[in-house]
Symmetry: D3
Subunit: 241 residues, 6 copies
């Protein structure tokens, strides 16, 4: 039993609220427990220089945190004049993860901007962001399809992400902030609905971890992502509860 009463392999309560704001082509509030991230997908009819003239599109992500999303207020990155290394690392991860399930040719010469802004943080913001951004991206693709501008459906598979870690010697799923602060090993796993691995990022915070621990963590993550993918399908009304 964990401090918040969860089993080791239990996700926090999950919410995926579509159409959370009205302007974006896709807009999803994703909650992993008290972690709340607003993911919007915006379509722009041009591509960055390295994609120009290719006929294909681009998918990119930006990540931000409201100054008081956290326990103590952090300085606003816009006021400091630069994004932290952590912010850049996370937004690069989100972008890579989403591009992994996109057929950029089918998207056509346009850019999908995924903005993931953390309204409230309690651990796992990057995995929540990837999980929510997929739903927002899906809605934006549906919007594009309704505009009649797509030659083919640009999503090849669903993608979701979860954190796992070794807390007090035990592998657990979906760490909250308190668990994350005291864990020995922290791992973020990004997978497709079909069970393929997109990203595995494991870090020893204290003692190094063993191959055995790595296996146990991957088992937990794989099961968790299965549940996330089902929740995405329910939210998108692609399946019924």
């Amino acid at each position: 039993m964990r401090a918040d009463g969860r089993r080791a392999d239990e996700l926090r309560p999950l919410r995926l609220v579509r159409h959370f704001t009205k302007h974006a082509e896709g807009s999803v509030l994703v909650c992993f427990g008290d972690t709340q991230v607003l993911c919007t997908a915006s379509v722009e009819d041009k591509v960055p220089p390295h994609r120009r003239g290719s006929g294909g599109g681009w998918v990119t992500a930006e990540y931000g945190m409201l100054p008081r999303a956290t326990h103590t207020r952090s300085d606003r990155e816009a006021a400091k004049g630069k994004q932290s290394g952590r912010t850049q690392e996370i937004q690069r991860l989100i972008g890579r993860s989403l591009r992994a399930v996109f057929d950029l040719e089918a998207l056509g010469e346009r850019t999908l901007h995924l903005d993931c802004d953390v309204l409230q943080a309690d651990g796992g913001t990057r995995t929540a962001a990837i999980t929510g951004a997929y739903v927002a991206a899906y809605d934006a693709c549906t919007w594009l399809k309704q505009q009649g501008v797509l030659s083919a459906w640009p999503l090849r598979d669903a993608v979701a992400a979860i954190s796992v870690g070794v807390v007090q010697g035990q592998p657990v799923l979906d760490l909250n902030y308190a668990e994350d602060s005291q864990c020995d090993t922290d791992m973020n796993v990004v997978m497709t609905a079909a069970g393929g691995m997109i990203e595995v990022q494991g870090t020893a915070e204290g003692a190094p971890f063993s191959r055995g621990e790595l296996q146990a963590l991957l088992d937990l993550a794989q099961a968790g992502i299965g549940q996330l993918v089902q929740a995405q399908e329910l939210a998108l009304e692609l399946r019924h509860a």
Copy 2:
């Protein structure tokens, strides 16, 4: 009758949701129709250099907009590496407006940071921000009082703000984005509950405006602010409906 069915002197539906996020000492979602601003008040136990050793505190504000709060996506200021002139102008206005009702000595040597982040924009974001920031600041003061660190209650009066403008020749209250885009004169008015004026900023967007129009706009604003102040009191449970 206006495009959205309102009378000239009618506010948009107003919501003030307290405790919207959990970490901040004050956290209020304020909605003026489709304009949604998250206002948090954070207490920090130090003051900027110009206030050090004064015994008194400081109140400051920052303003931001999520990239897709608007009809078309705007670039993220943190990624561009600087805040626009518009952002700076608005956050300076919010800061001045709130300081006008604060007794900085009673606050003690601490800073109250007011972060106003626009989740969805439909005109009037700065006036919504001021109106919501007051409620968040009130909650933070109550928190400070509960900590037993205040010698006296630091708020001297309530403050709220509203926009008014001349649209198609007619003075109207609380402009939405469509009205704001076509108005001749645009004015933001900040007032106290007691009816004192804190800020009046009127700008001729097209033709110059006359003294008579100015009077008409101020009349509308004064009545509107009266309603906002009542709504603040209801939200804070200082009065009952």
Copy 3:
């Protein structure tokens, strides 16, 4: 009687020196007492992106202060690597004020840059800047007319600006630095020669102000701007003393 011997409704000695520097199409040193601002108008044969292909032009302003224009030296903004919020607010105000009297279509597809640099500051730098920038802009328009590139005269009216404030309970005109530092209410008013209002920006520095005080301040400002407009006409030799 005020500290410097002026009546409440009296401007400081006013100077408008045209052709102060030799390279600019318009170059005016404007002095409101000890406040000295060099305003240059520069013509550039291209427009910013949002005006390209429109056939019309653009008018924009930048504001700066020499490091030792003030009582104590301020850091150079070029060395700090960014313009302060105050600087940006002022240059946006100057730009809007001048655009309000320009027929941008008549200007043709070119930009008029108004650079207002404070050589010496003693209160009222932004109002002096607007008043002087109009004269510099007029000279630049005359230069353009002489080049034979204008289809029509691009200035619809004159524009000038003045500060007013409540000092020790009394409304006064054209505050110097000492008065500005101790005033309760500070207001900047921008008007056309025809008496139309372009901008009204009133701020309660201490106690809030009343509708009555607002009226008294506007009366003072209106009379003061009348005198400024006459001085502009004399400087431009459009009228004789």
Copy 4:
């Protein structure tokens, strides 16, 4: 057989040249084939704010690439005025990896700066940097020990890193640039001499990867790191060939 004649599990020729430059407390040129990285370790007698007064020290890393270390010249980050997301991600990884084997208390209240500058790039610059930085850090610790300022030896274990990837369907070790450009899955593994895992970062560049491929890659990496650790010991004269 790979394009450069190596077996799938074969490292590129490895060089670790100590005392490459003369000023630094540790200075190592590390070469993984044509990838050449200069790693210096510099001792500074103070710590960053979050470690002040802790009695313990800090280890941090910075990474850079000379503009023409690569096939085509890249812009100099100092001239662009900011470090790319990639640079920040890599230097954060190097810092975490080295801290994982440091006893920061034994280091005392001082900072060890590890600067890893790529003179020539041909794939695997981050893994070469970690492997070389460990040797430079070791030399700097020896220098500190000789100064008589250490209460205990601050290194708990050795650390090294290698890249592995799936190229044309086959898992291979230590990818050069050509292999890195065409691989499906790219993984960087950081391990201790004792065989503990510090970091595992696997990314699907094309198709997702399976648990089986992950195992095969980890097997390759583990064997490769064993050889790197031996080479570090030889270079440090802790063992003989």
Copy 5:
């Protein structure tokens, strides 16, 4: 005879106007013909970190150009967010030149900031700046002496600067912009009143220059600086015409 009617060894009309602005401890407008530079000297009662606790002071310079000081408008460095290489090179030269005649110990633990802002440019702005900054620095030292805070007079000698160059095969003194644009060799010379050389910076713009040309240019410069030093003494009323 030169294009503007001067002999090869003739300075442009020189003006040194003291007390040009009122706030600075020293404020001098220096004109070398149409080149006009406002030099202010500001006293600050603290020193930069590398001088703290030394008992001695520091002298530093900053240089700027108003956007329309030049034939065509240049972008404002404060708006661009950084100072050009040219600006930094010039302000470093001015600082070194003035420090060369200062007894920093006698100045006491304070900083003298020399701000040189070009109001109008027509060649030779850096030499005019050095020549004017000396007079401003002298006035600031007199002010410090009058405050009774100096133990000894901190200026050891006077310093002035002039440009020389080879124009159409002929060495000439004090080049204006037109001459500077077409010269083969351009040299800036900084000397003391006693005839010692502080800086010699000669650059071949077209063909390389010979030792003989260098001698001829130094002869011209030496004579010119003699006249500048006399003009400084006249302006400071240390001698009479």
Copy 6:
């Protein structure tokens, strides 16, 4: 006799290692004693805006120093977000010096980027950089010639540079860091193989210097540059030892 045993007119041991790295069109490690600078020449098939359409090319230089090239570690300019004034001054000097021997028309509409990065510093980094950059530029021109894209050979002459200074009253050649730190006068001289002067930059660090000292320093520099030019020719195999 100097501290390192050299005669006053003796250069430090000189090395010019071509093809030091493999990607650049020219890549030279130049060593003046313990000063080691890696100079690469990169060809880019476009020119900066001010050269576009001219038919001719451009030559530009950038300079950097690895953080621990020096006795104590300096902050990385890329991390600080800007290049120091010293860096900009040096890279402007290198660029001007190389352009002085280039026929930009013969180069064709392309840019030659010279990157000079200091691996180890012991005085004279800028003069070593110029001397090495010439050899790298020569190799890049040979590469261009081999590509068959040059209409004519673009180098008009060789260029080299050396420092001279007055140390303890005696003029000496090629100062190392210890000598540079204690010298009274420091001068950098850039000359062509034909003996023409490109740049002379002399600075009095302590007492001003006389015309006689200047002559003595130039004599030393001229002889030293003669030796450098021979070494360049040997390295380029244009002459034999």
